[in-house]
């Protein structure tokens, strides 16, 4: 592959960064880009659904909602009000390994974001009330209904995780959790969770965009510096160690009110820290990204067996991760036929060609440069690479790793990870 920028590396394709650590352990990553008119402020906390103890599934996400309910100096919803008023946009997401909070603002409003984020990192507890907890519990339950319970196939993610990861593993349960556990959550749980995980030493603050590094660092130190470091993070509940493969083909066959048959296959794969992970990502793109991808070409275009196809690689960190492929059939399609077709494509990766690998890498390349256009994405990637790899410069090497992947690597991946001893099959058949 040629270099993404043609004759010489484009100066903007290198993301500049500087990493600082405040005395309380908060890591601060700064990335200046004078051509941006805006600034992205992003925090990753090293806590997600994997840290939830039994009986409290869904709690990390409920807690994320509580972070918008005010802190000592900010009223309920003040965070949203002040950022929107300043012409910014903001949100937060909870995942298995982390929770992120982010806002993009006109660059002259940088300090506003630092004030808001530091107030809730340091002074959340004084603002907690039973009323806001009850209110957000209802909001989250409605989120669960809207995105999962009221949706055809809405429980697919939960069912796959339950098969790919053993009951004692922290990824066994879905991030959204259960209604019963959400009901059981108390204010004491919120306080304990906050004091344990929402501490400077368990967080990364990234600021990217139109900024003067010296001023931004000074401001970050001023607003966050006096928050105490916090104690050590407790070990994960359950048992994060697990065998590298599932050991067999496990199945879950569901008759449900779904419009069309759909078969999903998940494989247990190495984590994002494993050197093979980039090859698995490319394998995912060969199978599922774009109209030239194998699943689309074979199942949708040539055989007309599937109406749509998907391939996705989860970037997980703990013990193992997961690759998912799926195909949705037409009315009357047999789920076992979809399964056989998907299996054929997983196993067929052993015949992948150089051109297919080049196509997948070219698409990934463009997608990566497009991500860099947004300061919010730059800040998010810097937080991720710093929290998960302790190395913000990974952002500048990631595409090099991807470009080095070869067809031979993909053949190895297919043989090692996508075989019949490592599959979870989930099949939805319409019940009417």
């Amino acid at each position: 592959m040629s270099n993404a920028a043609g004759d010489g590396p484009h100066p903007m394709l290198r993301v500049p960064w500087e990493l600082h650590e405040l005395p309380n352990g908060l890591r601060v990553v700064l990335s200046s880009d004078a051509s941006a008119g805006v600034v992205g402020v992003n925090l990753w906390y090293g806590v997600g659904s994997r840290n939830e103890r039994p009986g409290r599934t869904g709690f990390a996400h409920l807690f994320e909602h509580m972070m918008f309910q005010g802190s000592a100096n900010i009223p309920k919803n003040g965070h949203f009000e002040l950022v929107e008023r300043a012409g910014g946009s903001l949100n937060a997401t909870t995942w298995f390994d982390r929770t992120n909070y982010y806002q993009s603002l006109p660059s002259h409003q940088l300090e506003l974001a630092l004030w808001l984020e530091s107030d809730r990192m340091g002074w959340l507890v004084p603002a907690l009330t039973q009323e806001t907890l009850d209110n957000q519990r209802e909001v989250v339950k409605n989120e669960k209904r809207q995105r999962y319970d009221n949706q055809p196939y809405g429980d697919w993610d939960e069912r796959l995780h339950a098969m790919v990861f053993p009951p004692e593993h922290p990824y066994h349960h879905a991030v959204i959790g259960s209604m019963e556990d959400l009901d059981a959550a108390t204010i004491d749980d919120v306080v304990e969770f906050f004091r344990t995980y929402y501490v400077p030493s368990n967080a990364v603050l990234s600021i990217a965009g139109n900024l003067v590094a010296e001023h931004a660092l000074d401001a970050a130190a001023r607003w966050f510096g006096e928050i105490p470091r916090g104690g050590p993070i407790p070990p994960l509940p359950g048992c994060p160690e697990l065998p590298p493969r599932i050991g067999e083909t496990v199945r879950d066959e569901v008759r449900a009110r779904v419009p069309l048959p759909r078969t999903l296959i998940a494989c247990r794969i190495p984590t994002i820290h494993d050197p093979q992970f980039h090859a698995i990502e490319v394998a995912g793109a060969v199978l599922g990204t774009g109209r030239g991808a194998r699943l689309y070409r074979a199942l949708v275009r040539q055989r007309r067996l599937a109406k749509d196809v998907v391939a996705y690689v989860y970037p997980l960190t703990t013990g193992a991760s997961m690759l998912v492929v799926w195909a949705t059939g037409y009315p009357g399609t047999d789920c076992t036929e979809l399964e056989a077709a998907l299996v054929q494509q997983l196993e067929g990766l052993t015949s992948v060609t150089d051109r297919e690998v080049e196509r997948a890498i070219a698409l990934t390349d463009t997608r990566f440069v497009r991500l860099l256009e947004q300061v919010s994405e730059r800040a998010d990637m810097l937080s991720m690479f710093t929290l998960m790899f302790d190395d913000p410069d990974r952002v500048n090497r990631e595409m090099d790793y991807i470009r080095r992947v070869t067809a031979t690597d993909l053949r190895t991946v297919a043989q090692e990870w996508l075989g019949p001893d490592n599959r979870a099959v989930l099949a939805y058949t319409p019940d009417s």
Binding site: H108, N150, D365
Partner: protein
């Protein structure tokens, strides 16, 4: 709560007030170079040298609203079938050629236009443009591929009929508009009209609507405008003609008084709610005032409706309002999903908030906050070459003046409270709301009737059957 070693009690900095903002950085919409090629094609080039990327969008006068009811969905299907290949290469070869350049082709079809677009690295954009041009000017529409996209669409219609969000959107559109208004059709067509799509229909549509007059090419990114003009003129020199005349229609509501419709979906654990009526077109003089009104009412997180339904009552994960500004009057709609047992209270709150806005308009404080929000957030929506290209394409689709976006922030900032209140009074009409609820009819009908908004009709028809009459 007891003190804890990690709690901070005091603070050395004054945290009681928001910090003062720094120096404001100027923001201008990128300069757009406009020209017209010899064949009538409008060319718009926006120079954004920040990253080595180029976004290309070809906007065609092929919108769904231009088609008769018998052909509903055919512009979307023709757009889907473009990936079937060209006179020079098969569909698979086309995908390989484009994606080998790292450029994924995207075809999006709305009520007013078909847009074929892609983003590529700057050193490959000319090759990508040549392929995009080949796709639009020489589509092959081979039988197998046309049949495939038709079967995919039929399966998708089946999915939409069971998906509460699509069902609510489609049924709400149908119930808002008088029969014969294209905006009342399901967005992707009906089973009958989709079944009519074949290679001849695809070729007829392309030949009638994929024409340079009335079309536009947008190129945004790290490019030189003169070079773009030369390359484009060259690539598109063989393309000729004017599109078939667009279908003329006016937008009328189906009902002239408030009505409530329950679309029965017995397995629902939640109700999908839509509340609205017919709205205004993109070119309407109240456009900027309505952008402000909508933002106060339901266009942002801290809007009135979200603070009430989500943050005060916990009824929902979120609620939004929106005016669909189209070439003609698109609908005004409120959208949310709530737990089944609070369906009627949620509808009551929505109607109360809409009524309050129609009667009194925004407050001076809300006006100030919203003007700041809209003016500030505008640059955030223009960070990427793709976002800029999409906005420039809208100038062509809606016949907007070239300085529309350059003046947008000033126009929004200059909306007065009185102007906003007057626009709200004119364009939010509580007495004519159509309420559509997709949910478990046996649990929600009684409480909805008790609200007294208007007659409540229950719709239990399976998908694909004739539209219902007036509510009982």
């Amino acid at each position: 709560m007891s003190a804890h070693p990690t709690d901070v009690t005091g603070s050395l900095v004054d945290r009681s007030l928001p910090p003062a903002p720094g120096k404001v950085d100027s923001f201008g919409f990128p300069t757009v170079h406009s020209s017209v090629l010899a064949n009538g094609l409008a060319l718009r080039v926006a120079c954004l040298p920040r990253l080595p990327l180029v976004a290309v969008a070809l906007v065609l006068p092929a919108g769904e609203s231009m088609l008769g009811d018998a052909h509903a969905g055919h512009a979307i299907l023709a757009g889907d079938a473009l990936e079937g290949g060209t006179s020079a290469r098969t569909g698979s070869d086309l995908a390989d050629a484009l994606e080998g350049l790292g450029a994924a082709l995207r075809v999006s079809v709305g009520w007013d236009a078909t847009t074929v677009s892609l983003t590529s690295l700057a050193d490959r954009w000319e090759k990508a443009l040549a392929l995009l041009t080949e796709v639009v000017l020489q589509p092959a529409f081979p039988h197998d591929e046309v049949v495939r996209v038709r079967e995919q669409q039929l399966a998708r219609l089946r999915q939409r009929a069971m998906d509460p969000v699509s069902l609510a959107n489609d049924r709400s559109a149908e119930l808002l508009h008088a029969p014969g208004v294209p905006y009342g059709r399901p967005a992707r067509g009906t089973l009958a009209s989709v079944r009519r799509f074949d290679p001849t229909a695809a070729r007829t549509l392309a030949s009638a609507h994929y024409r340079p007059r009335g079309a536009g090419l947008v190129v945004a990114g790290d490019v030189d405008p003169d070079w773009v003009t030369r390359v484009s003129a060259n690539a598109l020199a063989q393309w000729e003609g004017a599109p078939a005349a667009g279908r003329h229609f006016e937008v009328h509501p189906r009902f002239h008084e408030a009505t409530v419709h329950v679309i029965d979906r017995p397995e629902s654990v939640q109700s999908e709610i839509r509340v609205g009526h017919t709205g205004v077109s993109m070119g309407h003089p109240d456009y900027h005032a309505l952008v402000v009104v909508n933002s106060v009412l339901g266009g942002a997180f801290t809007s009135r409706l979200n603070l009430s339904l989500r943050e005060r009552h916990g009824f929902t994960y979120g609620v939004r309002t929106g005016f669909a500004f189209r070439r003609r009057a698109g609908p005004f709609s409120t959208s949310t999903a709530v737990a089944t047992d609070v369906t009627a209270p949620a509808v009551r709150e929505i109607v109360a908030e809409l009524t309050q806005m129609a009667e009194a308009g925004p407050t001076e404080e809300e006006m100030e906050a919203t003007r700041d929000y809209l003016a500030g957030v505008f640059p955030l929506q223009l960070e990427t070459t793709g976002q800029v290209a999409a906005r420039v394409a809208e100038l062509i689709v809606y016949d907007l003046p070239d300085d529309h976006y350059r003046r947008y922030r000033d126009r929004v900032r200059s909306v007065s409270r009185d102007a906003a209140a007057a626009a709200a009074r004119r364009h939010i009409r509580p007495a004519q709301l159509t309420v559509v609820v997709v949910g478990a009819a046996d649990q929600v009908v009684g409480p909805l009737e008790a609200l007294g908004i208007g007659p409540v009709a229950v719709h239990r028809r399976p998908p694909g059957e004739p539209a219902p009459g007036a509510p009982r």
